[in-house]
Amino acid sequence: MTAKKDKIAIIIAGIVIGIIAAALAYFGNPKNMGFCIACFLRDTSGALGLHRAAPVQYIRPEIIGIVLGACGCAIAKKEFSPKGGSSPMTRFVLAFSAMVGCLMFLGCPFRMILRLAGGDLNALIGFVGFAVGICAGIVFLKKGFTLKRTYKLPLAEGFALPVIEIGIFVLLLAAPAFIFFSEEGAGPGAMHASIWLSLIAGVIVGGLAQRTRLCMVGGIRDTILFKETRLLLGFVAILVAALITNLVLGSISGTPFFNLGFDGQPVAYNDGLWNFLGLFLVGFACCLLGGCPLRQLVMSGEGNTDSAVVVVGLMVGAAFCHNFGLASSGEGPTANGKIAVIICIIIVAIIGCVNTLRKAE
């Protein structure tokens, strides 16, 4: 009975999150982006001046809300538990690599679902890459891959990232001159819903994701590994809810939010190979990390400092992607980006081998 209740809970959470994500695009966020974790960490990195790509600079309140919503729920449910020490530097490198994959594809696994819900068939190719990447990670997990255990840490350590997020939110409200904001019409960074609406949306999503342990990587991983479909149901619920919301919003507003095809999709390109390889890298790296970028944000709110390191790794990765010209655009992938994806796939494979063989010692 409990298993059935759990499944219903995650389906309801998925529906709410799918509606919120699609509605955020209606209220001003970039199309098919709702709240893409990779894109929004990248925008935040840009706003803080870690990269200077003018079209993608904005402190995204959704990110702050997700961390704080998860943190609040974890405290309320007595699940807040500061811990860490499970190979933090390896996690940083995996997170960096995952971001290189995300910005090759132009989106995290969550945006992959939103792009599918918007009719973007390039995301279907990305999905295949993502699933194959997770399978690659599973091969290592089954052979005994481990980043070793975590240990309990002082309370203050667990609150570090949530407090930093509050500080970043203050910077958004105060908007001092050293924070960069994309100018109107300059690109996706200039497209956003109002601050408080975005924050509240993030808090709700963070809370729901914390309660249900929602994870895009976990859904596919657990289905393959254990035939456990609970997390996958959340994934499907988001897709269906966002799809229906897109169709409804399209008919209400007269602007189409659903456009089936490969070409002319918002903030996307149609080179199948690199859409595939980008999300292959994300699936592979995140499978070894134990969760997708959304799940990492949520766990950092629960006091997991290893996940906080992953969040920092994703932000630094995003900054490097734009500073080194690795990030794709609607025009397509860059030569530098292609080289970086190949290098990162090799690095993730080496990390997989090293941490699998070590166990056999």
């Binding site: 409990t2 538990s81 481990t146 590994l225 134990g290």
Partner: protein, 66 residues
């Protein structure tokens, strides 16, 4: 006893899945977070085990019985 303390999912479940292959009547699993507790419980129940749980100082000792 399966000691999965400090390990993140899915490792605790993989350890339990490997252990269950020996098909004993009873297993003890120790974890130190709610998520692996839930995941191990869900997995063991799907394999026909009944699961009881004792909590002490943030650690959960799960007893799996067939």
């Amino acid at each position: 006893m399966i000691d999965a303390r400090g390990l993140s999912c899915p490792q605790p479940v993989i350890m339990v899945a490997d252990a269950l292959k020996s098909a004993e009547a009873e297993y003890t699993v120790v974890v130190d977070a709610v998520t692996p507790k839930e995941n191990v419980t869900r997995f063991a129940e799907s394999k026909g085990y009944s699961v009881s749980c004792e909590e002490k100082d943030g650690e959960f000792t799960l007893t799996l019985k067939k």
